[in-house]
Symmetry: C2
Subunit: 434 residues, 2 copies
């Protein structure tokens, strides 16, 4: 027996999706064992974290056993995942974070759920979402500090992955609803190029901006799950893009980034340069300061129309946060203002495409810093508004710890339709910095 200290074996619930699927396919573990490990973690931690809106252990075990019996071989064989509760599931309720939809049972799975199941994954349960994926928070707490928000709107998805309850969870993003909570909960978060992944069976918040969001504990998992969700054969993880051209993009929001996070990001940029990246400061045109406003009008206008039924029939069961926020904005927004905001966003999209020609990725803040204290709000989503509105792919990497020892993410931005280049560059960044 070697004298050197051996790393203690990780529990099954701590493995990544790629590791789980490989072990299942190799016969080294079973879907049932993996599901049980995740359920045990949930049993132990859920009273503190409150990540789950719906969880039925029997249903989970039944799925896992059926997969074992059939001989699970798929790319996500035996991988448990959580799904934000605005995503339809045929065998579990989907209640959209609103009492209006208590007991709602869709007949079929959303496309993203069906594609994941087809790849061998197990739906663990439905994760807590803010009300209609907007701002009014659910019950979930930050797994690293129960007095702090997990972020939102994909609150439960981020908390469940960050806490090793599941290796994967699905969210969505219309402003910063995947990147922000993933960063707050110490997970990898990915928002794909807008338009790539289908949204059948997912509640529309604001169609011009909505995408799925993927939350995981490794880049490999995100790359693999992306292929599954695109409905294509899994490709090998792209090779590292060594020494990439990185634009360090503080944006006009830099003064709102906490000093400790400013320093973490600036130090990271220096380390990456020393390791061989071509790092240059990127200043966005002044008009980009107006994107957040455009994003607000676009999302408010669209969100409000999409909720026409709830507004007409259940106004008193909508939170004041939503009524006095998104809905007030949306009802006040004229069609001309909306179209103007949309056209402005399209212009910024073209400008950003030109700017990105000189870079492989941008490096920027995922959020203002660590998850803020308090559970009555989900934190500032502004740091995602530019990227969401310009439809580019985004990743947050759980690279840092802040002054309270809580996770702080670094956000990497890719070019539209170049998500795999983003992964390749992120892989190098991760190796250099992590």
């Amino acid at each position: 027996m070697a004298l050197a200290a051996r790393k203690p074996a990780r529990r099954l619930n701590e493995l990544t999706a790629c590791e789980i699927a490989a072990a299942v396919r190799a016969g080294e573990t079973t879907c049932e064992a993996v599901a049980r490990a995740c359920l045990e973690r949930i049993e132990a931690r859920e009273p503190q974290v409150l990540a789950w809106h719906y969880l039925n252990p029997d249903r989970v075990m039944a799925q896992a056993r059926a997969l074992d019996k059939a001989g699970a071989r798929g790319p996500l064989a035996g991988v448990p995942f959580g799904a934000k509760d605005i995503i339809d599931t045929c065998d579990m309720p989907t209640e959209l974070g609103s009492p209006i939809y208590a007991g709602r049972r869709p007949q079929s799975d959303a496309a993203c759920i069906a594609l994941s199941r087809q790849a061998g994954a197990v739906v663990m349960g439905k994760t807590v979402t803010t009300e209609f994926a907007n701002r009014f928070p659910g019950k979930t707490r930050n797994p690293f500090d129960p007095a702090r928000t997990p972020g939102g709107s994909s609150s439960g998805s981020a908390a469940a992955v960050g806490d090793c309850m599941v290796p994967l969870a699905l969210g969505t993003q219309t402003t910063g609803s995947t990147i922000r909570p993933a960063a707050f909960c110490g997970a990898f978060g990915y928002r794909p190029t807008w338009g790539d992944m289908r949204l059948a069976g997912v509640m529309e918040a604001a169609g011009s901006l909505d995408t799925l969001g993927l939350i995981a504990r490794s880049l490999e998992d995100i790359a693999l799950w992306r292929d599954v969700l695109l409905g294509i054969a899994p490709q090998p993880m792209p090779d590292e893009l060594a020494g990439p051209r990185i634009g360090f993009c503080r944006t006009h929001l830099w003064p709102q980034v906490e000093p400790a996070s400013q320093k973490l990001l600036a130090d990271a940029a220096q380390k990456l340069a020393r390791a061989g990246a071509q790092v240059a400061d990127v200043e966005l045109p002044a008009e980009f300061e107006r994107i957040e406003d455009a994003q607000r009008w676009i999302s408010s206008f669209e969100f409000t129309r999409n909720r026409a039924w709830e507004i007409a029939n259940h106004w008193d069961r909508i939170s004041e946060t939503l009524r006095n926020g998104r809905l007030k904005d949306g009802l006040a927004c004229s069609f001309d203002r909306y179209v103007e905001a949309r056209s402005f966003a399209a212009r910024c999209r073209r400008t950003l495409t030109e700017i990105l020609q000189d870079y492989d990725i941008l490096l920027t803040a995922s959020a203002a810093g660590e998850a803020p204290a308090g559970l009555d709000h989900t934190g500032n989503a502004s740091f995602c508004a530019i990227w969401t509105t310009t439809h580019v792919p985004c990743l947050t990497l759980p690279l840092f710890k802040g002054p309270h020892g809580l996770p702080v993410g670094a956000q990497l931005i890719g070019k539209r339709n170049a998500d795999r280049t983003l992964f390749a560059a992120a892989r190098w960044v991760w190796r250099v910095l992590a």
Copy 2:
């Protein structure tokens, strides 16, 4: 009493939506009387036309009476409308044209239904759609010749409006699913600028292309209903754009247009020129011949992913038409091919924007000609592919009769985000030609 012949009074079910709403608001008729007139027409004609997938007269009368009791004042006060059965309704089944969804009951209304109800409209029932809004036809027949197709996929919506069963009906369009059936059934059809109208509660076929489609019996009705569906205060109908700059755009598909329809359109272009329009022939760049192919890959790729649950769980309940068509294409389409098609479409969009700078509208064919004989297919959708894929607004006007005495439409194309200019020009075209 005047000696001149008086036009016989039209029945309530023959009125336009604007006329009905005005009469209701003026107290000249009631929502109940209008609903009853429409139900009587349906009772008389439904055995031949088969436009309705779900129709419950009691539910219709209850809605109408409730409106009368409340004092209907909205822009669509008392106006009955049909809704394609891929659009969710909280009080009626929504079965997507597939036996897989028999008995499906959504909990809430789609945004477009809720906005219409809020404006005072009455949901008459659910109209027949092809299977999942694709090609496999439903039971509906052309109201002008029961041996001919009504077109599709919004088959029942077009037939119901063309047959004066309702003044308005909602459809959708992913290729030519509103313009084509509206033209075949002698109705006005409108596909808005892509992205304008929200799709919460509407089955996603292919999100990059999907829009709602409006079918009516007047331009005024379409302009009014558009405002309602945008969730904005109704604007006055735009004034006529007299003597507009019209590009007569035969496209590469001209040889596929039936000779009689070619002549009708060419004569119309001449008449419009004589009446003061600036009419010029527009030839699209040769690459536009490839749009139909790009449209096919985009819609097949997206449609197939969106149907992942049905494919995995109910393959044998999907029609052969769909399995061997869209789904076969979609399963065979690589992600690279899909992204390339999407990029090509975006380039064509920019090119068309430049071309349209010299025109107010384009004039083109809505379909190859009259509705073709037979009920086992819904006709050639190609004549809409260019316009659907380039996201521009489209109108079909029921201007002509073909060699069999059946309706033939003229399609007018506007600029993106200039839908009201399209209406203004269409109004002039209609007055000159109708």
